[in-house]
């Protein structure tokens, strides 16, 4: 999946496009609101789908080598979060959908129908 496809699937808006926006492939998605659990991820370059609007989301995502974050539930991010994503060159997409809907739409795009 490309970021453009991610954007479309989650009806999202890009708050920050990383330098790899055009070339990045998303192969693995993690939906999680507990950052301590995200840290147990073993895959590289995941797309993190979360409703937690805190700065720690960006830091955690960076630690695990995520390629981007989708912030769901239509929550407006703190300016500090957008700044941090910019600093870390981490794509940040905002989605009005809930976690469940954003996840299954991404799932269908990435994995097809069950």
């Amino acid at each position: 999946m490309t970021f453009d496809q991610v954007l479309e699937a989650v009806s999202g808006e890009p708050a920050y496009r990383s330098s790899r926006w055009a070339t990045q492939t998303v192969d693995h998605v993690v939906t999680c609101d507990l950052m301590s659990d995200v840290l147990v991820t073993d895959h590289d370059e995941i797309l993190l789908v979360t409703s937690l609007p805190s700065d720690q989301v960006a830091r955690t995502a960076d630690m695990v080598g995520a390629c981007g974050v989708v912030l769901v539930n239509g929550k407006p991010p703190q300016p500090s979060l957008v700044e941090l994503c910019t600093h870390l060159d981490l794509t940040l997409i905002l989605s009005p959908l809930g976690s469940f809907e954003a996840s299954w739409r991404l799932g269908q795009r990435l994995l097809g129908r069950v």
Partner: protein
């Protein structure tokens, strides 16, 4: 879809005996305050939070079943509370993303992919 589908079609492990019922929707969240505020009635909750408070929030929201993602067990007090509230609890080795995708399919959501 029904609660039994969670066991028979998704392979989730029931942690308490459940009463079969229809599920109208689903909600995925690990933040209980969010569940309490937004989870729809007659839905299945997909979450990491396997403890007694989850049952309390689920009950307030009218959630009928809880699937604990990436887990095999739940504490006894959670299961006792769930039984008392008539809420089904399942464990699954799948994580929130995959569970959401599969439950959506069971609910008949989404359109066929374009060719």
């Amino acid at each position: 879809m029904t609660i039994a589908d969670l066991e028979h079609r998704l392979g989730c492990t029931p942690l308490v005996p459940y009463v079969e019922a229809t599920l109208a929707g689903a909600y995925t969240s690990d933040m209980l305050s969010d569940v309490m505020a937004h989870a729809p009635e007659d839905s299945v909750l997909i979450t990491l939070q396997g403890h007694k408070n989850t049952v309390a929030c689920a009950s307030l929201a009218g959630v009928k079943a809880i699937v604990l993602a990436g887990q095999r067990e739940a504490p006894d007090d959670m299961l006792a509370a769930a039984t008392a509230e008539g809420i089904a609890v399942f464990a699954s080795s799948m994580r929130q993303f995959e569970l959401s995708w599969r439950v959506a399919a069971l609910l008949g959501l989404g359109v066929p992919p374009r060719f």
